[in-house]
Symmetry: C2
Subunit: 560 residues, 2 copies
């Protein structure tokens, strides 16, 4: 793969970097964590009607991709790879539909080239070149998009360059007085926390999305990721002090400010812009003191509606638990956190400064007021501070946490068995929640039955909660038909999206819009705001080369 | 004034409304609260070198304004006033320079007409008409702008219409489950809270800027006002669930959502847009339970730097006090809250659910750790829940609060004596605060000396604080020269703005940009964001009639 550099050619493996070692090109995470065939088959026995053997995993090196339609000039060649493995791994994100298509060897959307700039100047050169050639440029982040955010879907570009910032992965500066750090956008979660830890000072970003290991700071910012905190500071947005964004019209850098009222927030325009307005290269992020006091509890409810009322009371209490996740009966059973139709509320409190047992007791009392059963053993204060999310000692909490981290690998195992298994998330005000929950469960179950011919599972958990409403997260598991998995999922997803829209629930709380959520997003977004956003896009990216088809446009330059 | 309606004419007093009874046309607030001449003169003895008698207050009815250059068609005539008193009262906001100009009878900038729409449909009609006539349209809010936000300053418009939404002042709907209310933009603070109280349910918006009595919900949203909470939820932004905005390109209404990650936030584009992109007509606002537990304390510090370190520790403690205001020695003395060079830290905690004495004790302990002296009597839990801001029982707290509410009237009294007295506010990260504080105090004092020939007072308080930095609020008092007050203030202000910019401190934390802060704002705003904002403006307000010269442009259509 390591072709010699010659003017006008591209290296297969750019200098100073190798393809992400041990990473799955087709599925979630690390190859050594993927389920072996036997486990895939065993898992599939849960769901009647599936094939008996898993889909084989194609060998990336043996894939045949169309030859690249574009090539960069010699001055940029060392930054770019046209290697099959790199192109295959950068074709899709990690949505269910992405995994299935990769397993079926459907890689028609593969980018022509993958670029790995090491500096902002190199990124600017790549952007300039793409502009002159009308090449689409797709910021890849960590590649964990589950909404078609990193996949080119047509338009009249001359070619497609996937932009991988993994070489820009440093914590550049730490201000321990203001508790903030300047961090490059390409860093993955664990490396970010490791560098903060190495710096000393006991500071942490403490942003732990489920994708933590395999997603980047830049991706979190571009998609308004949801993190560790179930209340108060749920989105990464709140931790942004300033951002630096390379646009085709120039570099935008906001001032480091703890707060400001000077016009509309520049950062808030780029937060959630999903690579359509510019490429985020670094940000000053607000940090936390590493918590030393922690306590958690799992509260059981016989009635889900009671549990939801308990969560509402907690969300409106001003107690701000770090963790406040409610698993409905199906989700609790699937996670092994409860049985017999109980719902489980996982509560966690933490502080770097103060004991938190009293706060946990207040939370448990609120839960008990609403019919929750607080196990005597459940309010043990816990230590430990893992990088992977809330640490806790309670059995139900542990069960939930293991399932949380393991879930994407199970999903891939089931995908190999042609089971349909995917998630979607939303948020709505409390007055609408009961109706939404019922409508999504019954509506999606009906769609599953109609589309797959068999009943499926539709479970729900609340991942984040606000005083004025929860963010429900739905999991759907159903028997697919081999070769028809994607089409079936798309139909189910479309029915679910329609239900969300009908109930005034957002098309996404923290998975972003990408290309998959466009129908719901286009309905939700106020039309004058769409006009403003299109105008901003035209001003910053006049040639329409940045992530075409995401948020705006049809993929063609100039389309709305 | 109440001329009969005839086609093509305008009524002096539109049907269904009278001019704001008891409101000062030239200065702050209510006429019955203004200082009598004798008190003005007595106050002025504090400052050597002032004239012995106050400027007289011109009689609004006796003012001569240029005849209106525009008139509305008969169908709109009942919504519009061309009365001298209405036009005079809508000429300026309430900045020092506005008050002085009004006192000198300088009303060349008076709007041609003042419109009082009662419904959104009427507002749309006015907007459409203004567009066809190239008339500038200036949303007035409550008229409390201190940054030239409501004053026309030229351009090539055919005329100027000041837009007063005071007839759109209702709480339309309350959702007690989600704790939110749909509220019309024209309502003033007290009427808003009164309607919420009348509705029952114990809910409150609890947004108490210093201008509370004389500013509107729409104004708060358009300017990203700073409110009651010194920590955590400082700006009105965080309480917005959805907004409805009338733009020349159509009505924008975001969905009611507790949280969302669907693209850049539409609300965040309109928050802080200061009437340049559209007119906010209503919003769903997140409410709070009315607090029943309150406690407050005033902590004294011999050293201001220690006090600032205490505030930093508190801001980073996760204790989230509702009040955390630090007065430097000059400010404390002026407010009568401390003497002998002490700084005063006013702390307040409150909750609708839980006793708060423990939290106050933790805060006081943190303050004591940094050298604060906590008076034995100071941590008395207080009751009461006034509409005017934090309620408290402590003497120093009371002294500060009285001064806070009374300050604008004192400023006007001093203005009548040709004293220069005005405030500006900012925010910066903690690592820069000590340097900024020193630079603003010495630099502004030097500017005062140079420009006025006498030393002045430059005091500081912290109004809001964040884990990564404070929002300092500076007060300047100096001897002006009659007839030269505005020019002198502008020079002092310009020097201060330059100092802020040099230290990377925002040009405004919650006073907005308006026209007065444009130089600092233009420097602070990233240029690509300016491109995007100009493009958004052109898309939503293609004729450039909305509040020209604020945030963008020079006042002329098409200017950047």
């Amino acid at each position: 793969m390591a072709a010699e550099h010659s003017p006008g050619s591209t290296r297969s493996t750019p200098a100073g970097r190798t393809a992400a070692a041990g990473r799955s090109w087709w599925g979630w995470g690390r190859t050594d964590q993927a389920l072996p065939d036997s486990e895939c088959a065993a898992l599939a026995t849960m769901i009647p009607g599936l094939p008996s053997a898993p889909l084989p995993v194609p060998d990336a090196a043996a894939l045949t991709l169309a030859p690249p339609r574009i090539r960069v000039p010699g001055s940029l060649a060392h930054l770019v790879s046209d290697g099959t493995a790199d192109r295959a791994a950068h074709t899709y994100g990690k949505a269910y539909r992405d995994v299935v298509r990769a397993l079926h060897g459907d890689l028609a959307a593969a980018p022509d080239l993958v670029a790995f700039p090491r500096t902002e100047a190199e990124l600017v050169d790549l952007l300039d070149w793409a502009g002159t050639r009308n090449a689409a440029l797709i910021p890849y982040g960590g590649g964990s998009s589950v909404v078609g955010g990193v996949e080119y879907r047509g338009g009249d570009h001359s070619g497609v360059l996937s932009l991988d910032l993994s070489a820009m992965d440093r914590v550049l500066e730490v201000d321990t007085t203001s508790r903030a750090a300047r961090i490059q956008a390409g860093v993955l979660g664990p490396a970010l926390e490791r560098q903060l830890r190495d710096h000393g000072g006991g500071l942490t970003l403490r942003h732990f999305p489920q994708s933590f290991e395999f997603s980047t700071l830049g991706g979190w910012l571009a998609t308004r990721a949801g993190g560790h905190y179930a209340t108060l500071h749920t989105h990464i947005d709140d931790f942004v002090e300033s951002m630096r964004v390379v646009t085709p019209a120039g570099v935008s850098e906001s001032w480091r400010l703890p707060g400001s009222g000077a016009g509309p927030s520049p950062d808030r325009l780029f937060l959630g812009s999903e690579g359509t307005l510019g490429v985020i290269t670094e940000a000053w992020m607000r940090l936390q003191d590493r918590p030393v006091h922690k306590a958690s509890a799992a509260v059981l409810f016989a009635d889900f509606a009671d549990a939801a009322e308990a969560v509402r009371a907690i969300s409106q209490s001003g107690l701000h638990p770090a963790n406040c996740r409610l698993l409905d009966p199906g989700e609790a059973a699937l996670a092994g956190a409860a049985q017999g139709g109980d719902s489980v509320l996982v509560l966690g409190v933490e502080s770097a400064h103060h004991p938190v047992d009293g706060r946990l007791a207040e939370l448990c009392a609120l839960a008990a007021d609403h019919g929750g059963r607080v196990p005597a053993s459940a309010s043990a204060p816990g230590g430990g501070d893992g990088d992977g999310g809330p640490a806790a000692r309670d059995d139900a909490v542990d069960a939930w946490r293991s399932a949380f981290v393991r879930m994407p690998y199970l999903r891939d195992g089931l995908a190999r068995m042609s089971a349909i298994t995917e998630t979607f998330e939303t948020a709505c005000t409390w007055d609408r929640f009961a109706g939404l929950y019922e409508a999504v469960r019954t509506g999606t179950a009906a769609a599953v039955k109609e589309i797959t011919g068999s009943p499926g599972l539709v479970n729900c958990r609340l991942t984040h909660v606000y005083p004025d409403g929860p963010a429900p997260y739905f999991t759907v598991i159903a028997a697919g038909r081999r070769g028809r998995e994607v089409a079936m999922w798309d139909e189910i997803k479309s029915a679910a999206m329609e239900t969300l829209g009908r109930h005034g629930a957002t098309v996404t709380h923290h998975h972003a819009v990408g290309r998959d959520h466009r129908p719901g997003y286009d309905r939700q977004r106020p039309e004058p705001f769409a006009l403003a956003l299109r105008a901003a896009k035209s001003a910053l990216d006049p040639r329409g080369i940045l992530n075409p088809g995401v948020l705006l446009g049809s993929g063609s330059p100039g389309a709305g």
